[in-house]
């Protein structure tokens, strides 16, 4: 049994997805911690870019909101949202976008808008924010979310942020768009996508078996050519995570 909590395993795995990356568009919470961890380990040149327009933040404390004043003081640049979403994100200058979601399907379509029909939802979620344009314009997307039968679904109730294509095969990505989701990190493991855009189990966190993955997935999850057993995060990484969350 791993000493790490599920959140810590997710953070460590998400950070590993940023190895060598230079620009990441992050939100608050797990992605923020993962990106900070990556900069301290596998991606020393990583610039954290927040949708509030902040580049290269060096916060003196863990930010509570994407608009935390601690992100501004000491940052490298503070841009208008027009420049950030236009010249940087849509301009193709963001390598990785990190997104969460309430629902995902096997083609990486993400829902953060509604559970149930749009006009009469059973749960109204926050909506897109910048997610739909991040999903299209970041050169690739890493999804970080909790996995269960409620979140890994055969069909999402609303496609807020497009994945590789619709379940019926329609709606592929435009030529100008980024690669879309290339990895999904959950508390159970890491998933990648086949050439046909379908999600595949690529790695299992310590202590998780394939049956647990299948029990937490609303469709029959395909396996990658080889399913890795992800190692226990090394002590140095665990220490870094715990220091950040302290």
């Amino acid at each position: 049994m791993s000493d790490a909590t599920p959140d810590e395993l997710m953070i460590a795995a998400a950070a590993a997805e940023l190895a060598g990356v230079r620009t990441v568009f992050v939100g608050i919470g797990l992605p923020n911690t993962a990106a900070n961890l990556a900069r301290a380990s596998v991606a020393p040149d990583l610039e954290l870019i927040y949708e509030s327009g902040i580049f290269g933040a060096r916060p003196g404390r863990l930010p509570v909101s994407i608009g935390d004043p601690a992100l501004v003081s000491g940052s490298a640049a503070c841009m208008s949202m027009r420049d950030l979403f236009g010249g940087f994100l849509q301009g193709g200058r963001i390598e990785v976008g990190m997104l969460g979601a309430a629902q995902i399907d096997r083609y990486g379509n993400l829902n953060t808008t509604v559970i149930g029909p749009y006009a009469h939802p059973s749960v109204r979620l926050p909506g897109s924010g910048g997610a739909c344009e991040i999903a299209l314009n970041a050169r690739r997307v890493v999804v970080v979310m909790n996995q269960s039968l409620r979140s890994f679904v055969e069909r999402v109730d609303f496609v807020t942020s497009p994945g590789h294509h619709r379940p019926d095969g329609s709606g592929g990505r435009p030529a100008w768009a980024g690669a879309g989701p290339t990895a999904v990190v959950t508390q159970l493991g890491v998933y990648r996508f086949g050439a046909d855009g379908e999600m595949e189990l690529a790695g299992l966190h310590p202590g998780v078996d394939e049956a647990t993955v299948d029990a937490g997935c609303g469709w029959r999850m395909r396996r990658a050519a080889s399913v890795a057993r992800l190692p226990e995060p090394p002590a140095s990484i665990m220490a870094a995570i715990r220091q950040m969350l302290a």
């Binding site: 608050i28 919470g29 949708e51 509030s52 327009g53 902040i54 509570v64 909101s65 994407i66 608009g67 935390d68 004043p69 501004v72 003081s73 000491g74 503070c78 208008s80 949202m81 027009r82 979403f85 236009g86 994100l89 849509q90 808008t113 749009y118 109204r124 926050p126 909506g127 897109s128 924010g129 910048g130 997610a131 739909c132 344009e133 999903a135 299209l136 314009n137 609303f158 496609v159 807020t160 942020s161 497009p162 994945g163 294509h165 619709r166 709606g171 592929g172 990505r173 435009p174 100008w176 768009a177």
Partner: protein, 302 residues
Amino acid sequence: MTSKVSTLREAVAAHLHDGDTLAIEGFTHLISFAAAHEVIRQGRRGLTLARLTPDLVYDQLVAAGCASKLVFSWVGNPGVGSLHAIRRAIEDGELQIEEYSHHGMVGRYTAGATRLPFFPLRSYSGSDMAAANPRIRRVASPYDGEQVDVVPALNPDVTIIHAQRADADGNVQVWGIAGVEREAALAARRVIAVVEELVDTSVVRDDPDRTLLPGTVVDAVCVEPFGAHPSFVQGYYDRDNAFYRDWDAISRDPARLEAWLDEWVRGLDGRAAYVERLGPERVATLRPERRPSGSVDYGSYR
């Protein structure tokens, strides 16, 4: 030049009417709660409220019955959860919604500011958002035939922004996150700027690059220190995260919310009374240490 300084009460009375489209902008930063509270006190009705992130400021306006429609891109209490008054009003059919993405809202203000009927962007291919909102459309590029998404112009009747400082001519200066304040103001028919400090025009003119809006754009300057609480003002005070967390329980319970509005909004005559009620200790905990920008040299050319 004629001074643009007025009280917030006068400015809201003069510029905001029932049924107007109102944008209180400032992304996470510089959210004019002081203005929203004045709108509630003056009992405006039937407002269309536009804002990327409705935040607590619109949850309060909706709870007070001021709004009939919400135009937005992300509706939540950041880092906490739902905005319960807005959620209830939507479920009860009392509040229409019109939904975009962040870039879509930026584009709507930009089209409004530049008097174009639409703003092109690449945000909705493969998303259900355009199906949910028929005002998201497409045009064909006359160069390569590409179908490009477009959003329509948004021209608020009134945009209210908060800022660190302004002079009496209405030149407004901001540092830190500017969000879409400039575009939302330029798109508006009337602009109210609420500021922490009124400064001599020489302070503004020593550093013209910090000017977000020149005075020609601004109809009223209202001085309301701490007017953005519980949001923050870079260099002046921190975000009051405890307030954002506490709001969840307040807005979840309609009776408690009503009592809160009575106590903190309707029962007070303005922001100074609000700050007094907040108390000097809470205010003090939100004050940051100093971190000066340093000075640059513009040169004197004669």
